[in-house]
Symmetry: C2
Amino acid sequence: MNKIYNPEKDSWSTILSRPTQTVEDIEATVLEIFNEVKQKGDVAIEKYTNLFDGIELTNIQVSATEISEKGKTIDGSLKQAILLAKNNIEKFHKAQKTSKIEVETAVGVNCWQEKRPIQKVGIYIPGGTAPLFSTVLMLAIPAKLAGCSEIVLCSPPDKEGNINPAILYAAELCGVTKVYKVGGIQAIAGMTFSTETIPQVFKIFGPGNQFVTVAKQLATKYGVAIDMPAGPSELLIVADDTSNASFVASDLLSQAEHGSDSQVILVSTSKSLIDKVETEIEIQIEDLPRKAMAQKAIDNSKLIYVDNDAIALNLINQYGPEHFIICTENEDFYIDGIQNAGSIFIGNYTPESAGDYASGTNHTLPTNGYAKQYSGVNLDSFLKSMTFQKVTKTGIKNIGNAIEIMASAEGLQAHKNAVTLRLNSLKDE
Amino acid sequence: MNKIYNPEKDSWSTILSRPTQTVEDIEATVLEIFNEVKQKGDVAIEKYTNLFDGIELTNIQVSATEISEKGKTIDGSLKQAILLAKNNIEKFHKAQKTSKIEVETAVGVNCWQEKRPIQKVGIYIPGGTAPLFSTVLMLAIPAKLAGCSEIVLCSPPDKEGNINPAILYAAELCGVTKVYKVGGIQAIAGMTFSTETIPQVFKIFGPGNQFVTVAKQLATKYGVAIDMPAGPSELLIVADDTSNASFVASDLLSQAEHGSDSQVILVSTSKSLIDKVETEIEIQIEDLPRKAMAQKAIDNSKLIYVDNDAIALNLINQYGPEHFIICTENEDFYIDGIQNAGSIFIGNYTPESAGDYASGTNHTLPTNGYAKQYSGVNLDSFLKSMTFQKVTKTGIKNIGNAIEIMASAEGLQAHKNAVTLRLNSLKDE
């Protein structure tokens, strides 16, 4: 752990720098697979599934029966936990529905804004040791609430050609319409171009390794939108002596276990808290099954002491953490002042895990400083806003001349004509 | 003009295909300028301003005095027109403000969503023959309403080293904080990396030629967000015999005058209307100053007859037009059924020009079929949504066990521990 005391402002960007991601070297691989999927469809999908996942599949679509039957096999207690989480996530995202906004901006000029669903969306769920069924909840629930008519889920098969039952259970529960046993670059390519089996979607959501990340970036060049650019997960905690060092340490470790490139930062105005947290981390890390991974992230972690809250807030806003935990007496100072963060956890009894699974907020959040300009996934991520206007005869009389003058000043005569013709037709009315 | 009768569904994507944009060949140029601006700052900015705009500038920032004084020189009638437009745009975008959304998802689990401004935004305004001061209104007004603290405007200087006074007038009126005489790739690069003079921004908005478009795409690789991917402007009109052929022709021409690659499409269930519109276009185009440009777009335009409204709607949703005008008796059929369009104009007295300038809706809209998944610029484009959660002791008792079970099932022991420690501490409470 790196303890840093009162760093100079000039050094903040260095201290807070994220691990560099080198994507250039994998872009060529991604492009090659994209081209092959575009040209050969399912044949290419099968080839790469065999190559990367080590399994030969004749049918990559999971049938409704298989989804339902395999989903049923998970533990009853896990089902109950998923139902509780679903309930909270649904409540919070349902509350985000906005109604039609209608304004008569001038007499006879009616403008309104409506949000309509993105018709086809894709959800990518990584495979591997941790089956991220929680991400299915976080993406499929708002997609369903938004009214997306096609919700496609892709996830890589294991060596036996299966998708984890908890993923299937969550998919069925949350209204996913189609599930495919396809992972990695080939899954993203499939949803970008469509194949004989996989449908094309308009927007792709979900986490993934660096290959998936680069594939999602490339997909945007072919007219597909993505939820947001991705980077390693990160947590910044601001804590003072009113916090519980053991809790703080457990939260830092829950971030650290995500991977060796996870970002773990503690900012405090208390030197003694920093020391206590350090000790607690050393104790707690011993029992973790993912200790090796967590240790690397902890080795790179920063414990930063600053003299006062104003400096701390400034530094935190410059960093723009994905997850931000506030465990300080004056929590309102940070709640009011935070400008750049994905999701914020307040008080000693709000671990990051709460938001990862069950509080109801979304866990798909901007990393890599993108909290400065990107929202985390929310209901609106599955909608697009459209504007409507209806101008009456009175309306065009009211604003027509202004349009003529402005169009003329911009040198756009045909734009002016479209108004002039209408105004002329109304001269006698 | 290409008249097409009852096209087979298989042929729609060919008929409705947009002009291909070849960006690969200019990516190298863009990357080179980006690297030079990153390394040499203002020196590179000045070099390329000299090269592309043919003017040597010692000071690229426009002073507050210059903005104010030059802005004053525009015609009084233009000022009035701009004020009218500003008023309408402001009303419509102010109505888009959403309030904090707060939900107690379970007892003791409080979640809320708040939108906070993107602190620093950049607005790019192209130069050339048409000084797009209207775009200043469309971008700076919502930026100011959102509460962005830094609103930077870049626009290329003319041969005398000036920016059009109408642009300066609009910039001052709408709360732009800094104006720079910098255009093209170098402007986007400057706002991406910052130079001695130009500040870095978190999100860049605004139209531009293909160099600017590619530069904005490249900016996203360096952590800057952009409003949306861009393509040539486009208009699709659906009209029947209740429409006015002369008005319809004038709207198609106002789109056509944007450039030879503009997309102009009429869909109708009336063959006679199609013929009338064709004749009207031939008459009206004769008097246009931008006739040559408009003619090329008209030559590529499509006048499509279909047998009924259901087919028409289906075809329109597949295309996803940026601008969509509805001039039919059963307008509600199209209003209710349109899934994919940027901005919609309804009735015979609502020309596209109305939305381009003064109805109040935004004119920065998704082209190239992106209406399927992207919103046009709106108030939210200048905000990001952040989520907050505060869990009480009771709250963690209510959801803690579900989190433990889910974290455990995902193999994330440290996530579970963070909850277990808290639950254990509360055993006696």
